[in-house]
């Protein structure tokens, strides 16, 4: 089969599945779930075929074609650009997506709106696929927005909860703020290059470096700020945990939030070194910030959300650090700069272990009857052994324990950061990222210790049981992937142009990393055990340093600042403007004019006194005035 046809299938399968569910299966929940998983399976099969076989063929459909300014053509089209990079991202999407769908079968078993959930999942898969395969900026943007929509729907799954409603709204609007820049960036690109096509753009950017601009790159990066939840647009991601946990695993950990990283890697050639510098700092700051804030969270999913933020910060920082790296790229369609490659590498491993952690948390939450406060859990290690083990693997992976997947990817990022000062970069980034790695080990260990050890701190935790096979199976698969996902042999030659661009640490630095990884992960657990004694009922930090904990729990007041802005500035401005509109435009301008005319109306009305004597004067004055006008006096 030709690739073109396969691409079409790929796009159509989730779409049709979503369509069928929306139209016919709204009430038939199990059928809907079955259909969704089935379509997911077929989707995966086709996807894997595409990834590993790479059949020949292209897909390109023109949406519209107009003539743009200065003889340029303005073509918006739908097309596929399939290269190693997109293949890698597709792999992540397929693997995590399918596992999450299977997991959801168990997790959402008794949900009254199962059909909507699975329909939403299908839509999301479709939209995400669009981002992954798009061959031009406009199409990316379109699917970018659609992904946001899917995320909105899924976060809003429990729509009777005001917090869920608010969170979904927040997610969408904050993403739109990012898209504001993204859209401008696309327009900017068009104005400079006269095309949206990625291949053409890459070519032109390669030959005409002078056409690039830092502003353009940063505008495009605005979209990433939103979607990948970087400072200062990170606020939506922790709130997005209001959605069902499988969603958090798929969308808000593994794929959608990573789409920003993927996109930046995809348009890496449009980024100037100056833009990358900014990007690097954004990532670094986000990584550190989120790691700190994670200590203030008691909700198991919130901790994971901040850890996601932190890891995304790593990836973004890696992208930025690329500006100080020597490109190792060779072969493939287009050499991928090492920054992008490293970021993609971490993206992949992170997708595995973070999805694992989230699904674990889902398993726990399900077992604890939707209890999410870790201080209401405890002692689960015995009750849920498989979950416990897989969680431990995830924990070690994210902590950078040597020879697990996280170790390799984080290692390469730190390596880049370490190398950066040799190419004129700041040394500070390295230290921040290293510190953040240590913090990561610690807060994850806190989560681990408090959740699994000690004794059950609530009724719900008391009765927790291991989850069923539909949920356990994905956990095991992901645990395996988290272990092996960092090795070159795992990727093989399929993603040549990405993997080959990844610089690997050697020699002393590698040793240092192994030591650091071990210390951070295992040491973290020990330290966490000491600090957050699982037998205590309350958080140690909270009792020891209440103000610090409060600040961290409040996410260092960034959200409060936004709320303050929305409530005190934006809404008030809207009200004031509305009032002014009523006052000046409807009132003064419209009614005022009407009033003035009406006033003259009353005056002229009062001239008709009904008295002949008065009327005669009118005549006299009339004749006089006419004469005056005629003879030019008036």
């Amino acid at each position: 089969m030709s690739a073109s046809l396969l691409y079409q299938f790929l796009f159509l399968i989730p779409l049709v599945s979503a369509g069928i569910i929306a139209c016919f299966l709204r009430k038939k929940h199990n059928l809907a779930a079955g259909l969704s998983v089935l379509s997911g399976a077929v989707f995966s099969a086709i996807g894997l075929y595409l990834i590993y076989v790479r059949p020949e063929g292209q897909l390109s459909l023109a949406w519209l074609s107009l003539s743009g300014p200065a003889g340029k053509s303005f073509d918006l089209s739908f097309g596929v650009l399939f290269n190693d990079l997109s293949a890698l991202m597709l792999l992540v999407l397929i693997v995590v997506g399918l596992l999450v769908q299977v997991f959801s079968l168990g997790y959402m078993k008794n949900d009254p709106a199962k059909a909507r959930f699975f329909g939403g999942l299908s839509i999301f898969m479709f939209a995400m696929l669009g981002i992954v395969l798009a061959d031009n900026l406009v199409m990316i943007f379109i699917f970018w927005e659609l992904v946001g929509f899917g995320s909105y729907v899924l976060i809003n799954h429990y729509f009777e909860k005001p917090t869920a409603v608010a969170a979904s709204k927040k997610a969408f609007i904050v993403n739109r703020v990012g898209d504001f820049g993204f859209l401008l960036g696309i327009v900017f690109v068009y104005q400079r290059f006269g095309t949206f096509d990625l291949v053409e753009l890459a070519e032109m950017a390669g030959h005409h470096g002078e056409l690039l601009s830092t502003t353009m790159g940063l505008l495009l990066f605005c979209g990433v700020l939103g979607k990948s939840a970087q400072m200062p647009l990170h606020v939506w991601l922790p709130d997005a945990m209001e959605g069902p946990t499988p969603i958090s695993a798929l969308i808000h950990a593994a794929t959608m939030v990573a789409a920003g990283i993927y996109f930046t890697a995809r348009v890496y050639f449009l980024m100037t070194p100056e833009a990358l510098k900014v990007i690097m700092w954004v990532g670094t700051i986000t990584a550190a910030f989120a790691a700190f804030v994670a200590f203030g969270q008691k909700d198991i999913k919130k901790v994971l959300a901040f850890s996601t933020l932190s890891q995304l910060g790593y990836m973004v920082a890696a992208l930025g650090l690329g500006s100080y790296a020597v490109s190792h790229g060779h072969g493939g369609e287009a050499a991928l700069a090492s920054g992008a490659a490293v970021a993609m590498f971490h993206l992949t491993t992170h997708a595995f272990f973070k999805a694992l952690l989230f699904l674990n948390s889902g398993s726990i939450i399900d077992a604890c009857h939707h209890e999410q406060d870790i201080y209401k859990m405890g002692g689960l290690s015995k009750k849920m052994p498989i979950t416990f083990v897989t969680f431990a693997i995830g924990l070690l992976a994210i902590g950078g324990f040597p020879f697990l997947s996280g170790f390799f990817s984080k290692d390469t990022i730190l390596h880049l950061a370490h190398e950066a000062p040799h190419h004129g970069g700041p040394a500070l980034v390295y230290y921040i990222l290293l510190g953040t790695a240590a913090l990561t080990g610690l807060y994850m260990a806190r989560l681990f210790v408090v959740t699994f050890f000690g004794k059950a701190r609530s009724e719900n935790a008391e009765h927790a049981k291991e989850s069923g096979p539909a949920m356990v199976l994905p956990l095991v698969v992901l645990a395996v992937l988290s272990v092996i996902g960092g090795y070159n042999w795992f990727f093989g030659n399929t993603f040549e142009s990405v993997t080959s661009a990844i610089p690997h640490a050697e020699g002393s630095f590698k040793t240092l990393m192994i030591i650091a990884g071990t210390v951070f992960s295992l040491g973290g657990i020990v330290l966490a055990w000491l600090i957050w004694n699982p037998n205590k009922e309350t958080d140690t930090l909270e009792s020891a340093m209440p103000c610090v904990f409060k600040a961290l729990a409040a996410r260092l007041y960034v959200d409060a600042a936004y709320d303050w802005y929305v409530e005190k500035i934006q809404d008030r401005l809207a009200l004031i403007l509305s009032f002014l509109d009523q006052l000046f435009i409807s009132g003064l301008m419209v009614r005022g004019t009407a009033g003035i005319v009406g006033f003259f109306g009353i005056i002229s009305r009062s001239l008709h006194v009904g008295n002949l004597g008065g009327y005669v004067y009118w005549f006299a004055v009339g004749v006089l005035v006419l004469g005056a006008i005629a003879f030019g006096i008036l």
Binding site: F141, E145, L184
Partner: protein, 529 residues
């Protein structure tokens, strides 16, 4: 006269005749009324579809189906000349579709004296079709005004609260706009020297000898404010939210969806091609007002509690984008405007319709008195959300809206980056009010008022009857959104024809001005012509 031309004419005549029958026939049985009205509403939509399918402009003017009929005003260069070009075709079709949806929905409404209501709507419908089918700018204006009286009476008789003063304000405002544009059109007629109101001859005449610069500025100024008022340009918008809030749903759909597009269509089809130098002269102001419309009105929309007023204001805001597109004075901008017009027409009609469907279930338009409706009406919530997402330009349901806005942004960047940035801000603003509205109506816990209402009344999900007009609009929107080339290819050709003369015209004008200045300098005293 070919069969297609007859079809084109009858898309206007059939609703008109049905209206006259309903008017003259006295009280008819309900079934007969409904049958006739369905015919009157269905015919234009079907005709629009057939005409679009067969659309094949051959000559350079970009028009197809040209036909003219005598009127008695030939002495003034006025003939009833009908035809469609790439710009009017999609709008014509859109008018038919929105009319169909509005008509079907009107038949379901619980309006008293249904026959009169449908009769007036059919008059409006005839006017709508006529506006976009006219090649003669006199009739273009004439058909628009045809709908003024029906609109007024419909609002007054079948409207909601505050209808009396709202109808008055709207009518006076619209008349002001119409009068200004009438003078502008007359000025074009006199200054072009074409001795005809025929758009094709006018364009030809202007291409040969452009209107003098001073007159261009005056004419465009007149048209800008005239059309602008009709389209609710920023400081002249106050009639729109009020009027729509009190109008009966079908009237709001027809007016906000289609009739309002008259002004913008006039900009693209008449004003900019015929007086390009004037357009460039006023560009800055128009862009400024358009931008103010997007941002200020957008923010005001956020503050609304009344669902209908919110939709009305959002439509004013979207018109801001269109003005920005016009202000670009470029093919791309104009194309964006036409796409946005089609998209917005369908979307806003859908929103007004769904707004009323919600109203039927809550008995209020106040969004603070709603909430949590989704439990009772999941399908309605889904469709409503789709409509709102379309309106805020989310690709998918609102693909066409997105394409339109995006095209405008791309064109606008050429003109001014700062203004583009401001305009794109609207993307955020519209997301804020759109999502808030969905959340306030459907999600979260129900408000006290709604709970009380729900306890007393049984509330059902959207009915099949209500779904029909909804789906007509939604499906049209999505299909055109997925295949915008259906319209853009023909549009491109017509726009090229329209804009072809612009640049040369402006150049020629600049040259002549230079010459006349030299002449003036050589003659010691200026004199009147």
């Amino acid at each position: 006269m070919s069969n297609y031309s007859i079809l084109l004419l009858s898309t206007i005549l059939v609703p008109l005749l049905v209206a006259i029958v309903l008017l003259a026939a006295g009280r008819l049985p309900k079934g007969v009324t409904q049958f006739l009205a369905t015919l009157g509403f269905f015919f234009p939509a079907l005709g629009g579809l057939i005409l679009w399918r067969g659309f094949q402009p051959v000559d350079a003017t970009g028009y197809d189906y040209l036909t003219s009929l005598p009127t008695g005003l030939e002495g003034l260069g006025i003939t009833l000349k009908l035809g469609l070009n790439g710009l009017s075709m999609p709008l014509f079709f859109m008018a038919g579709v929105v009319g169909l949806a509005a008509g079907i929905y009107a038949m379901q409404s619980r309006a008293e004296r249904m026959q009169q209501y449908l009769m007036l709507l059919l008059f409006m419908q005839a006017g709508l079709m006529g506006v976009f089918a006219s090649v003669d700018i006199f009739f273009f204006y004439f058909f628009h005004e045809l709908a003024l009286i029906p609109t007024f009476i419909c609002i007054g008789v079948w409207g909601g609260r505050d209808r009396s003063s709202a109808a008055m304000e709207m009518t006076i405002y619209l008349t002001l706009g119409a009068m200004l544009s009438l003078i502008g059109l007359l000025a074009i007629y006199f200054q072009s020297g074409a001795e005809s109101f025929d758009m094709i001859s006018l364009k030809a005449a202007v291409a040969n000898a452009p209107i003098t610069g001073e007159w261009q500025n005056i004419i465009f100024g007149l048209l800008m404010f005239g059309f602008g008022i009709l389209v609710s340009l920023f400081p002249f918008h106050s009639w729109a939210p009020r009027g729509y809030a009190s109008a009966p749903t079908s009237v709001a759909m027809l007016h906000a969806g289609v009739l309002k597009k008259f002004g913008l269509y006039g900009f693209i089809q008449v004003a900019v091609p015929l007086v390009p130098a004037g357009a460039i002269h006023w560009q800055g102001l128009l862009a400024g007002l358009g931008l103010a419309g997007v941002i200020v009105i957008g923010l005001i929309t956020i503050a609304q509690r009344d669902l209908k007023e919110m939709v009305g204001l959002s439509s004013v805001m979207h018109m801001g984008y269109c003005f920005l597109g016009v202000a670009c004075v470029s093919v791309l901008g104009a194309a964006g405007v036409v796409i946005t017009m089609v998209a917005h027409g369908l979307t806003v009609a859908l929103l007004f319709l769904l707004g009323h469907v919600v109203y039927r279930r809550t008995d209020t338009y106040d969004m603070d008195d709603m909430g949590g409706l989704v439990k009772k009406t999941p399908a309605l919530a889904a469709i409503f959300s789709a409509a709102v997402f379309a309106s805020i330009g989310l690709p998918g349901p609102g693909m066409l809206n997105f394409f339109g806005e995006f095209t405008i942004f791309a064109a606008l960047w050429e003109y001014s980056r700062l203004i583009t940035a401001g305009a794109v801000l609207g993307v955020i603003i519209s997301a804020i009010y759109g999502l808030r509205a969905i959340a306030r109506i459907f999600f979260g816990p129900p408000s006290e008022a709604l709970e009380k209402h729900l306890a007393e009344n049984s509330v059902k999900d959207i009915t099949t009857a209500e779904k029909i007009p909804t789906l007509i609009l939604l499906v049209t929107m999505v299909v055109i959104g997925l295949f915008p080339r259906l319209m853009t290819d023909d549009m491109q050709r017509s726009l090229d024809a329209n804009f072809q003369s612009i640049h040369s015209g402006i150049e020629q004008l600049a040259f002549e001005e230079e010459e006349s200045e030299q002449e003036l300098a050589s003659i010691s005293h200026p004199h009147r012509q």
